[in-house]
């Protein structure tokens, strides 16, 4: 919502300048986005007189002007056809920034003649369209008078962001009322007097809505004014509209815009001669079309309110008029429309048709019904004043709805909710200045809500009004402190695990990414057998379904990095994934992936691609940290998006817990990745819950004093034997004495028969209560060899 300072001052008596008022407005909740002063841009421009204009010696179309300026006579080369001796114009000296171009004016030599400064056109000053001729001031001005004064510019322009609740501030008068209530001046409502009818009525107007839908248009006033002359509007009106960014069109149209911004009362004018028959307000019929004033044709449906004549729709209620009945320079009989439309319906229609208009903005937020009749009188008066003619009687269809609402306000609510106290007189002053009717007090007030404040519905709204006018900055802050002396932990166990998983993954070398919760449907299908959870209105096809896994987002990120030559990396994410749309089908997943080489090239680190065991190592470190007994984990076949021979599902008892491994080449191809990628993933919800323990005591340390003995074994086993099987057999060979089993070599090659592999293991033996004798050690070693042979066919390598 834009307005100018002089315009505001017609409604508000105040000495305050634009900046001071802007600060007050922002403090009132009417946030000022910009204060622009077009006069400031014209600071260097002044009145000058062309003493003599003679032909340029070297060019037919140019003139050589001797110009009397504030700082003496200068020579200017001018191309304007209207430059002539004795005229007064606006002069820009060298160095002035020209508003239209933003460039500073330089001294120039034009066709061999020096030119120092410029005589300006309206276009160059940014105040009009005319750039053919230079400004030709009427009457004798004193040389050196500032241009802003001579051109009668509107002064500072203030741009407000109006919140949806403050429909009343889409008019200058509403803004002035708020400022006055805040003590920034005194409110001067427009004096509006009735314009008597001196003619015959215009077309008849009928509301034709089905029962129950009457509120689509509760009231519609039409008033005919005959014999008008519709030329350009007067300069003051054009200037004002232009200052707020509107293009002056003709007096009649400019009046409707003016009243809309002045009183927040949108209007429409029809060329009465072009209306066929009477006007009917009704819902559009399927298939009806309207060529609107924006020169676009719209297809209407039966939810939209139209104003129709015998030919069909001639305007869209509350949004835009139609081309066929629009006013032109030739219009002599005009029908003025002042109406009320159902706000949600206006909003829906505007949205469906994609029309943003100033009228729609106001109708959809809700107008002051009580302004319908005064608005009509005011507009009629302006039309008569500016265009002449004779007004007929107003024809009102429907009736202006009764909007009187009352709120009982307990004064104690102000300190209770806002933490401030106001004197009763001050409360009454504020409320009355805002337009409330106030009765009762001082404990309880019976308030009548002004007809323009649809947003005031509860006592809390009154608290807001009083606090707002008093000033939010004058509410004293009070600290919020916790109730217990020592703060307790506020995270749930699940929240703690999320934090821990994240920081643990980062210590393992992973960079945390945050990727979209949605992915493309094809990507989702690669990671889930379930039905994709589709959005109705996705932004694009690659963000169209909720992700069933974090891996597609991470893979897409990996692919982008690889494309940028970042070919070695590790990414992880902790975030939601979705098994279904229903409640309880969201999981907090942890997933990580490594791609390319395990580490960047380095003089002492063997260069190798990432492999499944990298992912497994990271996964197990994470799970161990999150309280999972990783010794108890078991391995099963992997999900379909992994390499079937280089990946696994990790289970704990019967429950799948996690998966890891190399991704399936088909999946990588879908992401255009040609480097190896390994990944792990699990849901935090799948992990066993840490038990809430009453005691924090740990079990005693088992650090036995008797020396351990280490024995190494190398076994030849079938090449496809899982190493884990051998380790298990060795561990269980003597549960009492075998303390630790470590696989330290896996070998195939010369010396190992085809179809076999060598697994070398070191075993640490230790007894709790004595030093092991050679005999005991030999016996355990024998058990180990025997068990491996009999249960796995393993042979001790010679």
């Amino acid at each position: 919502m834009k307005f100018t300072l002089p315009w505001l001052r017609e409604h508000l008596e105040t000495e305050a300048g634009a900046e001071a008022l802007a600060e007050r407005l922002t403090g009132l909740g009417l946030e000022v986005e910009e204060v622009a002063d077009p006069a400031a841009r014209l600071a260097g421009f002044t009145v000058a007189r062309v003493r003599e204009a003679r032909p340029h010696p070297n060019a037919d179309k140019l003139k050589l002007c001797e110009v009397e300026t504030r700082s003496g006579v200068v020579q200017v080369v001018c191309g304007a056809p209207n430059a002539r001796s004795g005229m007064y114009g606006i002069f820009a000296p060298e160095g002035t920034v020209i508003p239209a171009t933003g460039q500073p004016l330089k001294r120039a030599v034009i066709r061999g003649v020096e030119s120092r400064g410029m005589l300006c056109s309206a276009w160059e000053l940014g105040i009009g369209e005319d750039h053919e001729g230079i400004i030709d001031l009427e009457g004798g001005w004193e040389i050196g008078t500032p241009a802003a004064e001579v051109l009668g510019l509107e002064g500072p322009v203030i741009d407000l962001a109006v919140t949806p609740n403050r429909a009343d501030c889409f008019g200058v008068s509403g803004i002035a009322r708020d400022l006055a209530a805040a003590g920034a001046g005194s409110f001067r409502p427009r004096t509006i007097t009735a314009v008597p009818s001196t003619g015959t009525p215009g077309p008849d107007i009928r509301l034709a809505f089905p029962a129950g839908a009457e509120n689509a248009c509760p009231a519609f006033l039409g008033r005919i004014i005959r014999g008008v002359r519709n030329g350009p509007s007067p300069p003051w009106l054009q200037r004002r509209l232009r200052a707020i960014g509107l293009r002056p069109i003709s007096a009649l149209v400019d009046i409707t815009n003016y009243v809309m911004f002045d009183l927040n009362r949108p209007l429409h004018v029809y060329d009465a001669a072009k209306i066929r028959g009477d006007l009917v307000l009704r819902f559009a019929r399927p298939g009806e079309r309207l060529l609107a004033l924006d020169e676009r044709e719209y297809e209407l449906d039966e939810t939209m309110v139209v104003i129709a004549d015998d030919t069909g729709p001639v305007a869209l209620g509350g949004i835009m008029g139609g081309e066929s009945t629009g006013v032109t320079e030739e219009t002599t009989d005009v029908l003025l429309e002042v109406a009320l439309f159902d706000p949600p319906r206006v909003a829906a229609t505007g949205r469906r048709l994609g029309i943003e208009s100033d009228a729609r903005t106001r109708f959809e937020r809700g107008l002051d019904p009580a302004m319908l009749l005064p608005g009509a009188e005011y507009a009629t008066r302006l039309i008569l004043d500016l265009c002449g003619g004779e007004a007929g009687p107003a024809v009102l269809a429907g009736r202006v709805p009764e909007t009187r609402r009352e709120i009982r306000f307990r004064a104690e609510q102000l300190p209770r909710l806002a933490g401030i106290r106001l004197e009763p007189e001050e409360m009454v002053r504020i409320l009355e200045a805002l337009g409330f009717g106030v009765a009762g007090g001082p404990e309880t007030y019976d308030l009548t809500v002004p007809s323009w404040r649809h947003d005031i519905t509860t006592e809390a709204c009154i608290v807001e009004e009083l606090t707002r006018l008093h000033g939010y900055d004058r509410v004293p802050p009070v600290p919020v402190t916790r109730t217990e002396a020592v703060g307790r932990g506020v995270l749930t166990p699940d929240q703690r695990r999320r934090v821990q998983a994240r920081r643990r993954a980062a210590t393992l070398g992973y960079l945390e990414a945050v990727t979209w919760s949605f992915v493309g449907e094809e990507q989702a299908r690669l990671f889930s057998d379930g039905e994709p959870i589709r959005l109705r209105n996705p932004l694009s096809s690659d963000l169209s379904v909720l992700r069933p896994s974090l891996l597609p987002g991470l893979l897409a990120a990996a692919a982008r990095n690889i494309a940028r030559k970042q070919e070695t990396g590790a990414l992880f994410e902790v975030g939601p994934r979705f098994l279904g749309a229903g409640p309880g089908e969201q999981r907090t997943a942890v997933a990580g992936l490594r791609f390319g080489a395990f580490a960047p090239r380095h003089w002492d680190v063997p260069r190798r691609p990432v492999d499944a065991i990298d992912a497994k190592s990271d996964l197990y470190a994470l799970l161990a940290d999150l309280g999972v007994r990783v010794e108890a984990l078991q391995i099963a076949g992997p999900p379909s998006w992994y390499h079937p021979g280089r990946a696994a599902t990790v289970t704990l008892g019967p429950n799948p817990l996690a998966s890891f491994g190399e991704l399936h080449p088909g999946v990588l191809e879908a992401f255009d990745i040609e480097l190896p990628v390994v990944a792990f993933e699990f849901d935090l919800e799948a992990l066993p819950r840490p038990k809430a323990k009453a005691s924090k005591t740990r079990p005693p340390l088992e650090a036995w004093p008797f020396p351990p003995a280490d024995r190494d074994f190398a076994f030849l086993v079938d090449a496809d034997l899982p190493a884990e099987d051998l380790l298990k057999v060795i561990r269980s060979a003597d549960r009492r004495l075998v303390r630790e089993v470590r696989l330290f070599d896996v070998y195939t090659g010369p010396g190992v028969p085809e179809g076999k592999k060598s697994l070398a293991v070191t075993v640490r033996l230790q007894a709790q209560d004595h030093t092991l004798s050679e005999g005991e050690i030999e016996r355990v070693a024998h058990h180990i060899i025997e068990a491996a042979r009999s249960r796995l066919g393993a042979e001790l390598r010679g």
Partner: protein, 359 residues
């Protein structure tokens, strides 16, 4: 004998000094002090002297023995030192070689800043609550006093799912405010919670992404008013930005679920494409807040004449951008390794109020 002793001393000391290495020194030791050594032999010879000479001769030989032993010990230490020096010279490596890589992961700024926010507000007694990303119309809109015709409910702002519940499409929550409703419906007052999480709006341009992060705050008891709201948030922003001189301003605003409503601005300076938080000539909006609307309280079964309090919602990503000078929101979600290394946080830099929020 005295002559012999003197000659021997001269010879042995010269030999010891000349010993080139430990082995040669050991040979000398055996030659002198071994069972058949020359000094040993001399000592034995003392026994054969007449008794009146024995005492003096014995003392002289013992002195010789000590002198030789000491000379050997000294020479040994010296030779060992030379040996060690030689070894150390041999063992020299190029210590300018680049170190072996160690894991260098990073935590995303959104996670870090979320933890910073939680640390501050936990210190004021707020607990962390959660709710689902997929919401229904009731929790996201109706219960928050957002009327059916509100623009936020239209397709251009909210992501709706194909899936429906009770005839209305499910949706991705457009704010963390539904967690207020879930918390109040599930528990009994008083409430003091914050709820960080992902939120979704159908918007993608220079300054908007379809997904971003918010923290919701809710404090409901029998006495909390706007003064507390201001106190809480002023303390919060000063703690968060780790500066006591940040100017703050509360402006009236509008949200359907609060009344009175406010927006909070902090002071800033703009220039050279950078925005610096702190005293300056400009204001920057950072959060919306207000007293919980009586209709919201009624909707969750709380009597508005008894229970009262405030709610606020702030953008985590935006706070991260402001505090750490990250210029572009869209880059948060690209997973660019270079960006993550640059703007990410060392995993053990865990924000706390006692240790400081950040370095």
């Amino acid at each position: 004998m005295e002559e012999q002793r003197e000659r021997l001393e001269g010879e042995l000391l010269a030999a010891i000094a000349a010993a080139a290495d430990l082995r040669a020194l050991e040979e000398i030791r055996v030659r002198a002090l071994g069972r058949r050594g020359e000094v040993t032999a001399l000592a034995k010879a003392v026994g054969r002297l007449p008794p009146e000479e024995r005492r003096a001769a014995g003392q002289a030989v013992n002195a010789l023995k000590r002198t030789v032993e000491e000379a050997i010990a000294r020479r040994r230490a010296e030779l060992e030192r030379i040996e060690l020096e030689r070894r150390l010279a041999r063992e020299r490596i190029d210590v300018t070689l680049p170190p072996r890589p160690r894991p260098e992961g990073r935590v995303h700024p959104v996670s870090q800043v979320t933890e910073e926010i939680v640390a501050i507000l936990a210190d004021m007694g707020f607990a962390v609550a959660e709710g689902p990303d997929v919401e229904d119309d009731y929790h996201n809109f109706t219960a928050l006093n957002i009327p059916p015709e509100h623009p936020a409910r239209q397709m251009q702002d909210t992501f709706f799912l194909e899936a429906e519940e009770e005839g209305a499409p499910l949706l991705l929550r457009t704010h963390t405010s539904p967690v207020q409703i879930r918390t109040m419906l599930a528990g009994r007052p008083p409430f003091r919670i914050i709820a960080p999480g992902r939120v979704y709006r159908r918007d993608y341009d220079m300054t908007h992404t379809p997904m971003f992060h918010q923290v919701e705050g809710l404090l409901i008891d029998r006495r909390t008013h706007m003064g507390h709201l201001k106190g809480c948030l002023i303390d919060f922003v000063r703690a968060f930005f780790e500066r006591d001189d940040i100017p703050v301003r509360f402006r009236p605003s509008f949200f359907p679920f609060t009344e009175p409503s406010a927006e909070m601005d902090i002071g800033c300076r703009r220039g050279k494409g950078q925005l610096v938080v702190g005293a300056g000539d400009d204001w920057l909006e950072i959060l919306g807040c207000g007293m919980v609307h009586p209709r919201v309280l009624e909707g969750v079964g709380l009597e508005p004449d008894v229970w009262q309090g405030f709610a606020f919602g702030l953008g985590i990503d935006r706070l991260a951008m402001l505090k750490y000078g990250i210029p572009d929101l869209r880059t948060f979600f690209e997973g660019d390794l270079r960006w993550l290394r640059h703007y990410g946080f060392v995993p053990l830099d865990i924000p706390t109020t006692y240790g400081g929020l950040s370095r």
